[in-house]
Symmetry: C2
Subunit: 400 residues, 2 copies
């Protein structure tokens, strides 16, 4: 039987470029190789695409120029419609193979264009099957502001917001005049509007702190969001997706350990121990101990709170077309019990596999990857069907 060939894409021009490398390698380690034949496609920070087994070893990063000369530089051609997609080998040797055919692109990007709809649009335009959220839900989820507005219209509780845009192309940012019109009460929480993870998020207690927080945020994002600061903060996360029967299911709820919100990526994702336990010679797998030390599964919640988290996640996911397997994050005031939907991660770190593993569905990382791929093919089939509907008639130039 021919295995399904899976091109696992990771890297990209993103703040979370390095974490994406780890997620990509994890997918290749955890995938069911009796069914799938995976291979890595690493997108470097300049936009070049590379493949080769050396990309599976975390010790080879950052990729040196010497190593690049031993990798295959590959590309996809837009404007060429083929039966089976294939990567063209740009630096193919004269008598070597010129093409690497594959069946589906597995997107293991975090942040920026790989998670925000742009790469998704590339694959749709080229008519290539790909995994995860589609163009519109990727782009809406990645915009904290757009997500908030959709939630409001669905009556999902969110914090009120003030939006501050950076004056573009100005060398000196006049924060004073920028804040002149802004009416906020302190303390508040300032964050970048379009960045994933907790990068750049901070508590602000007065105007001076706000000025300096904005200057920091504007180094990473053109738009800042100010929200009321949630006292006695506790966070809750939940993952949501369609299972193989097409039903929308949710994972266990977790409460991440907040003692050190700004965990370094290294702490968060790498663990020699975890890799060794699984018999892997490279260290991309987080250990169970690491996962458990960082989060608490099934935190104590009232029925009403649990229902709010589960139902909001389902209803937002369903409204956005039910593609992908996002993790949805909530904020809560532990004393008052109030909860707000905070943001959505269309491609959460490690695909939030630990939330599925610890859920009543008991879905392993390997099973999760299988579901993600099967749903990718289903979405592809649905799109083909829609394209055929939409091109079935055109009226002006029809020849008699």
């Amino acid at each position: 039987m021919n295995k399904i060939k899976v091109a696992v894409f990771f890297g990209g021009k993103s703040f979370e470029h390095d974490v994406s490398i780890l997620t990509g390698i994890q997918v290749i380690q955890a995938i069911d190789i009796t069914k799938y034949e995976p291979f890595p496609v690493y997108v470097d920070s300049d936009g070049y695409w590379w493949t080769g087994d050396a990309l599976l070893d975390t010790r080879n990063y950052p990729i040196s120029d010497a190593l690049k000369s031993k990798l295959l530089n590959v590309s996809l051609q837009a404007g060429e419609a083929t039966i089976r997609p294939s990567l063209k080998i740009i630096n193919a040797p004269l008598f070597g193979k010129k093409r690497i055919p594959f069946d589906i692109a597995f997107l293991a990007f975090h942040g920026a264009e790989g998670e925000s709809g742009a790469f998704q649009g590339l694959f749709e335009t080229l008519n290539v099957a790909y995994t995860g959220a589609d163009v519109i839900s990727s782009s809406v989820y990645m915009s904290k502001i757009a997500t908030k507005q959709i939630c409001k219209s669905l009556n999902i509780n969110v914090l009120s917001e003030t939006i501050i845009s950076k004056p573009v192309n100005e060398e000196f940012i006049d924060i004073e005049s920028l804040l002149k019109e802004v009416k906020v009460s302190y303390p508040l929480c300032a964050k970048p509007a379009n960045l994933g993870s907790s990068v750049g998020v901070c508590k602000v207690s007065n105007k001076e702190e706000l000025s300096s927080a904005l200057l920091d945020i504007f180094k990473m994002d053109n738009t800042a969001i100010l929200e009321p600061f949630v006292e006695n903060l506790i966070e809750y996360n939940i993952a949501v997706m369609k299972n193989l029967d097409g039903e929308i299911i949710t994972s266990v709820i977790e409460s991440p350990n907040n003692e050190n919100t700004f965990l370094s990526f290294k702490d968060k994702y790498l663990s020699e121990n975890g890799a060794k336990k699984k018999g892997l010679n490279i260290s991309a797998m987080p250990s169970d101990e690491l996962i458990e030390s960082r989060r608490k599964f099934q935190p104590t919640l009232t029925k009403k709170q649990e229902d709010f988290i589960t139902q909001s996640a389902k209803s937002l996911f369903d409204f956005m077309g039910a593609t992908g397997n996002p993790r949805i994050d909530f904020l809560s005031n532990k004393k008052t019990g109030e909860i707000w939907l905070n943001e959505v991660n269309p491609i959460p770190g490690a695909f939030a596999f630990y939330l599925w593993q610890n859920s009543t569905h008991h879905i392993s990382y390997t099973e999760l990857i299988d579901i993600i791929i099967e749903n990718g093919f289903k979405n592809y089939d649905k799109r083909q069907y829609e394209i055929n509907l939409k091109t079935s008639d055109s009226s002006i130039f029809k020849k008699k």
Copy 2:
């Protein structure tokens, strides 16, 4: 002085494929050739891209296989990061040129992936400058449902809706059981959720009509929207964009002539007379007479109505990031004076140039194209800036 080379993309796998051909040719006819050097890139219904002067003559459509053999089949390579974008000529003769460099992609698509964010994502991934709305606003505008939700959250008046999804992959659609849970009052208006123009929109007075309307819509779209039928219907359209100073401006308001809503594309866009008047030997330009016979500029409105139309258009456009030059369509009950924002066309037919031409800004088609291109470059510069911000740090694999 070197002219800016503009690749004008049109066609695509869309219901409005043919209209897009006309808009594409219009752009090449109307563009300022002292500043720009345009050339056509025709995307056929199979996804192949073609260029060549024969594509500028409407009489050559649909393109025959014989003609295709004389055209250049071109492609863009994802995974290849070059200083200046260039189309690769796939069927290049052995000693002929292999590449066509260009500076910006001008998107003249209507409907489907060219207007819905997918093509936009392709160009963002490939780091190519392109015109019009960005990925998120293209995808939101093209979804009537998402647009409605954003409007609600911005307190812009829209009609209430009931959404009915087609059961996917079922050969026989059981409309009875689909409608069992649906509570609506008649008459109502049924329409496809994701198609542009007025295709598939109809008035429904009872359950039998609804069943048959849904079966029709499900031939074109997987989702139908039901809205209250607006009595004494009159429509108003307005265009909105950023001018070269970065200010958000709106066009004149038009009331399209509704006596025959289902104008054929041919009637709507083609006119031998219009082309001749402008000294063109091909007939892609609508005549002024045709334009005026189909619409009424500056219809009688109260100050409040005019403010609602203008302010809603500006506020939605601004909220979505102020890219592109959409036309925003409103519905009104002529007797009661109520107005609802109906839908947004990210790439309206003929770029709604007649709305700008007849506005107080007196912007000609040629000037409009110039503004669209200049804004495309501005958005490109903004994205480069954001990419640089977002990739300025990565922490795991940094070499000492």
